[in-house]
């Protein structure tokens, strides 16, 4: 007997784990489930391992103090040998982990794997998703830059909308009256101790159930899940068509996990670490805070929800969504698994994906926000000044100087909050232009108090010139008629 085997047996006599491990490795899976579609969960778990390892390494330098966190990240980025690379791997690992958890969840949903008897596996999975998102958010806070600071402000503002106990909830969230040292400390405790601890526990439960209940079989249209017969049918399937997990299926998980890790490492090496952005001093108000990629959809929704719906949507929305996800396996615990026979499920998933994708895309250029330096940074194209009278050019100055450009684009640059004004004169007459300028309306602030009459005159004269060549400016039909020589009124002699 070889030395190695002897050592192994010495340990197994004492640990008594060999049998359990052998059972877990050789547990049968339906041969069709040994598929490339079943590799996302294991890859997410592999990344979690990577995150734990890189997280511990980052903790060797990171200082969880509002006074030092930002400096310690700069030190990691610029002084520690390969500190930047570890930060990059941890940051990209976070993005990949959220993505894979979401993909895994979509696959489980489409394949009906949440149905009997795997309801609890799904529910634990929902908590794993929430914890993964919690890790992503708290991680963003630990980056303690301006985005993190104002992101916490948004969190506090949302919390402050809770009725009755809002103030107390805000102070509990922040650990005190303002976003400061105590706030970072509690998010550090969440990110490094509490949530990872819970994640390890819940992942173990999740895996245990996969082993005990068996992996979901490949859904076949017409193969109906019934509580009374499912387990018998599943075991018959395993006996007829089962293969041991090792080596039958594991090689696909291993190949995919390795590919994902390599992808993370390549992204990290090529794109580098995320931030930190500006130094977290709230008196630096020249900042445009934005959340990380996986919270961009929320950022867009917060800008686009009607104001009166916002508080209910923020406070009740998450309860409804999470409640629905938890109730799903009870509402649809039996029946068809195949997505080919579940059109509503497919359409729901597509709608959610398209909505989140659209919100994310919108948030990358946030058309609802004024461009803070639109008036001072974007020059007015010369073509909008050529051939204009002095009054009209004066109006162009008013247009630029009064920050109209922060919300209105012209010549393809400027804000998108209000409509582009390149051809505004084709649809609005002089009188129609004056009114919104002075009174405002809709989302347009009233400028009556900040423009004197001569500025309004100049501005509107300039706006009247904004029509493309060949398309005439709008005219007031009644005034046009008045200006025409009227044949009936012609003096006759």
């Amino acid at each position: 007997m070889s030395r190695l085997k002897q050592i192994g047996e010495w340990f197994d006599e004492r640990l008594q784990l060999g049998g359990a491990i052998r059972d877990a490795m050789s547990h049968p899976v339906p041969s069709k489930s040994a598929s490339w579609w079943y590799v996302f969960g294991s890859a997410a778990l592999t990344i979690f391992g990577l995150q734990v390892a890189t997280g511990i390494l980052l903790a060797l330098t990171y200082v969880p103090s509002a006074a030092e966190a930002w400096n310690s990240l700069q030190y990691l980025n610029h002084h520690d040998t390969l500190g930047w690379y570890l930060r990059a791997v941890h940051g990209w690992g976070s993005n990949f982990m959220v993505a894979l958890v979401l993909i895994h969840m979509c696959q489980v949903f489409l394949f009906g794997a949440y149905k009997f008897p795997r309801q609890l596996t799904w529910i634990v999975g929902i908590f794993l998703l929430l914890m993964t998102l919690g890790m992503a958010f708290t991680g963003q806070v630990l980056r303690f830059d301006q985005d993190a600071y104002w992101g916490l402000g948004i969190g506090a503002a949302i919390t402050g909308r809770i009725p009755l106990i809002g103030a107390q909830a805000v102070h509990m969230l922040l650990g005190g009256p303002i976003i400061a040292g105590a706030t970072l400390s509690r998010f550090f405790a969440l990110h490094v101790f509490l949530i990872p601890g819970l994640l390890i526990g819940f992942v173990s439960l999740h895996l245990l159930m996969v082993l005990k209940l068996g992996i979901n079989e490949w859904p076949m249209p017409g193969r109906i899940v019934r509580k009374a017969t499912y387990e018998k049918e599943y075991h018959e399937l395993l006996q007829k068509d089962g293969i041991p997990f090792v080596p039958g299926a594991i090689w696909k998980d291993m190949l995919f996990s390795a590919a994902i890790i390599v992808a993370i490492l390549l992204c990290a090496a090529y794109f580098g670490p995320f931030g930190p952005t500006g130094y977290p001093d709230p008196t630096i108000v020249q900042t445009i805070p934005k959340p990380d990629f996986f919270f961009l959809w929320l950022y867009a929704m917060l800008a686009l929800l009607p104001p009166e719906m916002e508080t209910p949507a923020l406070l009740i929305g998450p309860v409804v969504v999470i409640g629905f996800l938890i109730l799903l396996p009870f509402l649809a615990g039996e029946g068809e698994k195949s997505w080919r026979r579940r059109p509503i499920a497919v359409v729901t998933l597509l709608l959610v994906a398209i909505a989140l994708g659209t919100f994310t895309k919108l948030a990358t250029y946030s058309p609802w926000s004024p461009v803070m330096d639109g008036w001072s940074g974007d020059p007015l194209p010369v073509s909008f000044l050529n051939g204009r009278t002095p009054l009209q050019r004066q109006g162009a100055l008013v247009f630029q100087g009064k920050q109209c450009r922060n919300c209105h684009s012209i010549g393809g640059s400027g804000g998108l909050r209000g409509p582009a004004l390149d051809s505004v004169a084709t649809t609005m007459t002089r009188d129609q232009l004056v009114r919104p300028v002075i009174q405002g309306g809709g989302n347009m602030p009233a400028y009556g108090r900040n423009l004197n009459p001569s500025e309004v005159t100049a501005l509107v004269s300039f706006l009247e010139t904004l029509h493309p060549p060949g398309r005439p400016a709008a005219r007031d039909a009644s005034q046009t008629a008045m200006q025409q020589p009227q044949p009936t009124a012609a003096p006759s002699r």
Binding site: G166, I178, G181, P280, P282, T283, P370, N443
Partner: protein
């Protein structure tokens, strides 16, 4: 009851007492932000600056040290605010935080507007809402003038529940 069952019960009871004795201070420690020495009352009067730092008819950025701070706050306890001196000793002191979701609003004197970079909130010079998603005007700190100094009552991050009610911003003097 057998001796064994009795001692099991006593054991459970003693452990229950031990857990309670341990839990109470832990809970007290955790909820200290609302029930600690400040009892959640964080507002204090502080001096913002001399009156002559704020010219009449202008709105300027002022900063102050939050009256409650901790050793590890770094620069996060330096808080900005917008001071508008309407005339004489009549002021408006606006929180930097947008009433929508707390982002830092910026003052544009040319157009007389405050604009928020996050979700498009815009306010007039008196702090009232002009457009966008904010449910009310800018938050205002109570102020007073004391021997040539402008003082404000502040101390906590203003949100819809910590600083104000959901109503349109008050205008003018609050003395």
């Amino acid at each position: 009851m057998s001796r064994r069952a009795l001692f099991t019960k006593i054991g459970l009871l003693l452990n229950g007492i031990a857990v309670t004795l341990l839990a109470l201070p832990i809970i007290g420690y955790l909820v200290s932000p609302i029930l600690g020495s400040d009892r959640g009352q964080y507002k204090r009067w502080i001096t913002l600056g001399d009156l002559n730092e704020f010219p009449e008819g202008q709105t300027r950025l002022a900063t102050f040290q939050n009256p409650i701070s901790r050793f590890d706050d770094g620069d996060t306890d330096h808080i900005p605010c917008w001071v508008r001196r309407v005339q004489g000793e009549q002021f408006q002191v606006f929180a930097i935080n947008c009433a929508h979701l707390g982002c830092p609003v910026r003052w544009f004197p040319q157009s007389g507007l405050f604009m928020c970079p996050c979700h498009g909130g815009v306010y007039y010079q008196d702090g009232s809402r002009a457009s966008g998603p904010p449910p009310r005007g800018l938050f205002e700190y109570p102020y007073k003038v004391d021997s040539g100094k402008l003082m404000i009552e502040t101390g906590q991050l203003p949100t819809l529940s910590t600083s104000a009610k959901l109503e349109t911003g008050s205008r003018g003097c609050q003395g």
